[in-house]
Amino acid sequence: MLEKVLWLWLTPLATAIILLFLGKRLPRRGDWLAVMGLGLSLTLSLSFLLELFQTHTFEWREQMAWLSLSGLSISFGWLIDPITILMLCVVTTVSFLVHLYSTEYLKGDPNYARYFAYLSFFTFSMLGLVLVDNLLWLYIFWELVGLASYLLIGFWFEKKSASDAAKKAFLTTRIGDMGFFIGIMLIFYKTGGLLTYDDIFKFVAQGQFTGEFLGIPILTLAGILLFLGAMGKSAQFPLHVWLPDAMEGPTPVSALIHAATMVAAGVYMVTRLYVLFTPEAQLFIAYIGAFTAFFAATMALTHTDIKKVLAYSTISQLGYMMMGLGVGAYVAGFLHLVTHAAFKACLFLCSGSVIHATHTQDMREMGGLKSKMPITFWTMLIATLSISGIPFFSGFVSKDLLLAGCLSFVMEHPEHLLLALFAFITAGMTAFYMFRLLCMTFLMPAKNLKVIDHAHESPWAMTLPLCLLSGLSFAIFFTGSLDGAGLLQVFGSWHDWFNEVILNPAPLDEAHGNAHGPAMALSLILATGGILLSYLFYLKKPELPQRLAQNTQAIYQTLIHLYWIDELYQKIIIQPLLKLNTFLADRDNRWIDQKLVDGWKPLTTQTSKGSGHFDNIVIDETLVDGSAVVVSTSAIQLRKIQTGKVQQYVLMAIGAFCILLIAVYFL
């Protein structure tokens, strides 16, 4: 088992290292090595999944000592349970397909080998994040995926916008990670040095985690701090600004990192540590998630850059997942992560295929691509139906569960009506903007003939991943049957595991059942409405959007400028910070440098002059030179008796002997 896990986990690392150092010398720059390495990981993950399907329960853990100090030992451990296995499958599947896709998409790039090295390195880090069983290692891999994301966003770093976006992504997520780290330290401190998930859960379950800070229970505080990390990584509301900019990276990277896996790491983390979140912290998560879902969806309505629309859609869907976790529908939240990974990766890869063919990202330049790129169109249509929540597609299953969970929560706590409002409006908007994207790209009459003329269907290495991922967007893969009963079977063992350690079982089953019908009906109506509206706007009466935009100029401008969030951050955070920096630099220059540092100058020069004199006169001239003079003068005198005549020497020796004899005799 351990060997299997190590092969699964370390193969991407090995290929990354090999490609980084030898990539340029391998045939085809070594892309086959990366693809095959990922193929191995994928096979092993699928074998785990198969085992899980057969046994319905899976748990394997292994620990080894890593750091032991006196009174403190931190271990490195693996934990594999159903959540881990699902995540492993998601990561390796998407990563494998993205590797395959990239062999075509980045063909001829001067840094081809480096790209694959980074991609494999990312996969290794993400697998590590999923596999580890304690918070410290989770944090380490959390940062490693951030690093990989930074490297890949800035892959075309010669472009200033790309390197800026990479920096922005790194710094923005860093703000959240600070909170995450403080949260970990808080838990570490309060539990007396526990870091392993199970130990912490036990500690919390025994009710030993007590204490308050400013009237807030420490556990709630720790939960919110941990969630800050998830807000950074999963691009939740105040920290969402980096994700749209991250689209500067190559499109397959966006599909892998910024749609399917890394941004879902926040959701994974919250799911994994669900036990730690108190009802208050969960409420915080729910509100942030619901607001993000709504907020990002409105921004996606008006954007014309195909990748940025998808980026905002990703933020919105991640907000959905967070909301699901917050209202207690954690199964739904996690399931949405899995289904979303498939259809959003598919959407991104489709957009990559379109960009590859048209060499533009602006949807206003596109249109009429349906006949030129049929495979891309049909796969994108399937993924779009899935994200819109149309029955028989995977998005329907997970989104329906999410909305039902939200609705049942609101029915129990009517004061949180806002959550349901946000969630359902978002469902309608999602359908609208996704079909808007589809219409503008494929269905509307061609607007720029030059772009359309040389467009063509992509080669098989790009269309095959599209077909596979769109295939995974069908509900049947997740439910096992059309009514969703198979789904709960797969998750059944997981329920038990959760209930064992969980403090207050979430109000899932009964209320959920009651809310299921209305939620489904409402979401279906909204989705259909969104689709019809986009059909009306972009196919039937293409002049309508223009008129609407003119009539509601204020709202339109706000949306186009993304609520001026970036400008706001520029104004209230970055510029004051820069001003503070210049102010401090000026003070540093005037006070520290000129007064304090320069003030020392006379003292130090005088001291050094004095000690220089002392050194010169006493040490050098007297001691060192003096001893040399003594030796040389005595040597000059003594040289005189060395005449070179042997007989004189002998004579001297005899004379000396005689003197010695006389001396001995008389004394």
Binding site: R639, Q642, T643, G644, K645, V646, Q647, V650, L651, I654
Partner: protein, 102 residues
């Protein structure tokens, strides 16, 4: 008057002094060598005399034999050096070789 230890010592002392004088005063290297041989023989005579009159065993004799052998081999080496010097400089005057002076 019987011949005793003091007579032998006197003869050997005479030999020694003569050897020293010869070693110091001669300019000819052969003469110097002869002086050294005399000194060595004086030492050998001393050994035998003491051995005969005081220790009354054969250890002094054996020492003397060693001294003779060493003197012979030393003479060979020294003569060879002298020969080489003569070949190089056509003189065997002691004063002609002062290069070892520092």
């Amino acid at each position: 008057m019987a011949v005793g230890l003091s007579h032998f010592l006197m003869v050997s002392g005479l030999l020694f002094v003569l050897g020293i004088i010869s070693m110091i005063s001669r300019r000819n290297m052969i003469g110097v060598l002869l002086g050294i041989e005399l000194i060595m023989n004086a030492a050998g005579l001393n050994f035998i005399a003491f051995s005969r009159y005081i220790a009354q065993d054969l250890s002094g004799h054996i020492f003397t034999l060693f001294i003779l052998i060493i003197a012979a081999s030393e003479a060979v080496v020294a003569l060879a050096i002298v020969l080489r010097i003569y070949q190089n400089r056509a003189t065997i005057s002691v004063e002609a070789v002062g290069e070892m002076k520092c």
